[in-house]
């Protein structure tokens, strides 16, 4: 805006400012921080708005309609809160919520405990350390669906290698029906999920452990601290920020897990392992194609996710404040 005033106020250098005026818009766009920033951000923002923010808002909008597949949001009949009210009385949905919470809670606790333990083990002085770390990461590298298929074979009701080994050792007499019994199926998918998630947690926590100064442990040893005390009062407090971030990711991705369940049990037996994500797929894409209802199930996951993010966010903030760190 101020540029427009220049030719009027400054009369003598008018000619020179005139000659400068035409390129000024373009050159300003190239030099001005905000415009330059906007140009640089354009590709990323375009992707994220078109295929992330817009669908996210659209999903919430769809959850208030009775849309079928192929119907756009404007032509779909408005349903108000009907989808949610209907879901509240839907036993399948309530079981799925329970399953999701149970699956997330148990798997996350186990992943954290085993991951932290493994990280502490790996932090020892070990021979072939690089090789060991590479092997530990294998479950994380192998695509989830493909390892889920391997687990499907391992959990086979007739030819399970686990059942066979236990039978050979004389521990059981008949094969375990891993995926056919509701609780067996729940524990089996949790096991597969923990197997898949432990490497990520262990390796990231290991990176955190390596930054802890050994002199702290030396001082604690001189003060007569036990191993547990050293862990509790040195390792754990120093690791808290990284634990908070890692566990947030872990909980989020466990809560919204889809592929493992889809491949291993497809929600069965009788909905015992149905999670909210798989249920929304079944309702919206497969039978009935009720986009509105599926979107309502997806939208119902958002409060849980937000709660999880907020808890870790505020946990992290308090931690930073206690350690007297700035906000970067």
């Amino acid at each position: 805006m101020p540029d427009a005033a220049i030719p009027h106020s400054a009369s003598s250098p008018t000619a020179s400012s005139r000659t400068l005026a035409p390129p000024s818009l373009w050159s300003r766009l190239k030099v001005n921080r905000d415009w330059l920033g906007a140009w640089f951000m354009l590709p990323a923002i375009a992707f994220l708005v078109l295929f992330l923010a817009y669908p996210l808002a659209l999903g919430i909008a769809y959850s208030f309609t009775e849309a079928r597949i192929g119907q756009d949001i404007w032509s779909a009949p408005w349903a108000g809160l009907d989808n949610y009210i209907w879901l509240m009385g839907d036993d399948q949905f309530l079981v799925a919520v329970f399953n999701t919470l149970f699956y997330t809670f148990v798997a996350s606790v186990l992943k954290f405990a085993i991951g932290l333990y493994l990280a502490v083990l790996l932090n020892n002085h070990l021979p072939f350390r690089a090789l060991i770390r590479a092997i530990v990461l294998v479950p994380f590298i192998v695509p989830t669906v493909l390892s889920a298929i391997a687990f499907w074979w391992i959990f086979d009701p007739q030819f399970s290698i686990v059942s066979w080994s236990l039978r050979q050792m004389g521990i059981i007499s008949t094969n375990i029906d891993f995926l056919g019994d509701p609780w067996n199926a729940r524990w089996s998918v949790i096991f597969a999920n923990v197997w898949r998630g432990v490497p990520f947690i262990a390796i990231t926590l290991l990176a955190g452990l390596q930054t802890v100064q050994p002199s702290l442990y030396e001082a604690a040893t001189i003060d007569g601290a036990s191993r547990w005390q050293m862990f509790r009062h040195i390792t754990y407090p120093l690791l808290t920020p990284i634990i908070a971030v890692v566990m947030t990711f872990s909980v989020l991705f466990t809560f919204t897990d889809f592929q493992l369940i889809k491949v291993l049990t497809n929600g069965g037996p009788a909905g015992a392992t149905e999670l909210m994500a798989t249920l929304s797929y079944n309702r919206a894409i497969l039978g009935g194609q009720r986009i509105g209802e599926g979107a309502a199930i997806s939208t119902a996951m958002i409060p849980f996710l937000l709660a999880c993010i907020l808890i870790s966010w505020f946990g992290l903030q308090r931690r930073k404040w206690q350690q007297g760190e700035g906000n970067d």
Binding site: K30, L36, G37, F40, M41, P43, A44, F47, L48, L50, F51, L52, P55, L58, G59, Y62, G70, D72, N124, H125, R133, A134, V136, L137, V138, P139, V142, P143, T144, V145, L146, S147, I149, A150, F151, W153, I154, F159, I161, W195, P199, I203, T204, A207, Q210, P214, T221, I242, F253, F255, T256, F258, Y281, I285, I291, A295, T299, M301, I302, I309
Partner: protein
Amino acid sequence: MTETANGGAAKPARKPLVDESEGMRYLERLPRKLVTVYLPLGIIMLVLIFPFYWMAITAVKPKSHLLDLDTHSPFYTLSPTIEHIRDLLFKTDYPLWLWNTMLVAVVATILALLASIFAAYAIVRIRYRGAQWVGGLIFLAYLVPPSILFIPLSTVIHEYGLFDTPFALILTYPTILIPFSTWLLMGYFKTIPFELEECALIDGASRWQILWKIVLPLAVPGLISAGIFCLTLCWNEFIYALTFINSTEHKTVPVAIVTALTDGDQYRWGSLMAGALVGSLPLVILYSFFVEHYVSAMTGAVKE
């Protein structure tokens, strides 16, 4: 932090390692370490590696040994066969699925990397008004899981006319990749000394030239980390590929194995495991060359 950038070291995100002096290690005697460290570590590693081993060994077992656990030890085979892998490659569309997966993964990764390079550079170095906020929002985008997006996204894909084409995946995968790689690259760009850019600015370089000729060559390790991680994520993706692709010839490996290979044949395990093995091998090979980059990608994004 700064000294790592000019050497082009592989892991600027990591703090310098602790000294390799003996420290308190002399306090640990071998028998004690055997029980407290090696034994549990061995058990955990055995469990972690076993499903992969079992997948590999099943893929090369002859059909007669597959379901007969009692006459031949199931844990190894003395007569490995490539029967399953041959069937897979020549009697099914597997090579096509593999090609689809690779095409989608590579193109999506390139798109995502380009977008992330610009975004990360702008947030870290151009520092326009609100850059901090945009950075935070991009991080939040990382926390939006595909499982709550796929339903509305499927209608969006229909709307744009992309349904059942590779573009449905090529254009949606970057939304998973961009938030992650932007954060990773932001961390790398921060380690590049500001003075280098100031020199270039004084010499009359534009931002564009600075980015391509100074910043990117120094951030190559970061680009490799981000690229490998993005490839892995694309290869891994399942729910979008399952929802947006309908015809068999456009499917990616994970979806195709689950939907097209699982027929009723009781000997299907051989070809299923071969499919899983061949589908994982490219990633495992890639990973074995770049472990360090991979680890720094994993830890770098979390440490920010």
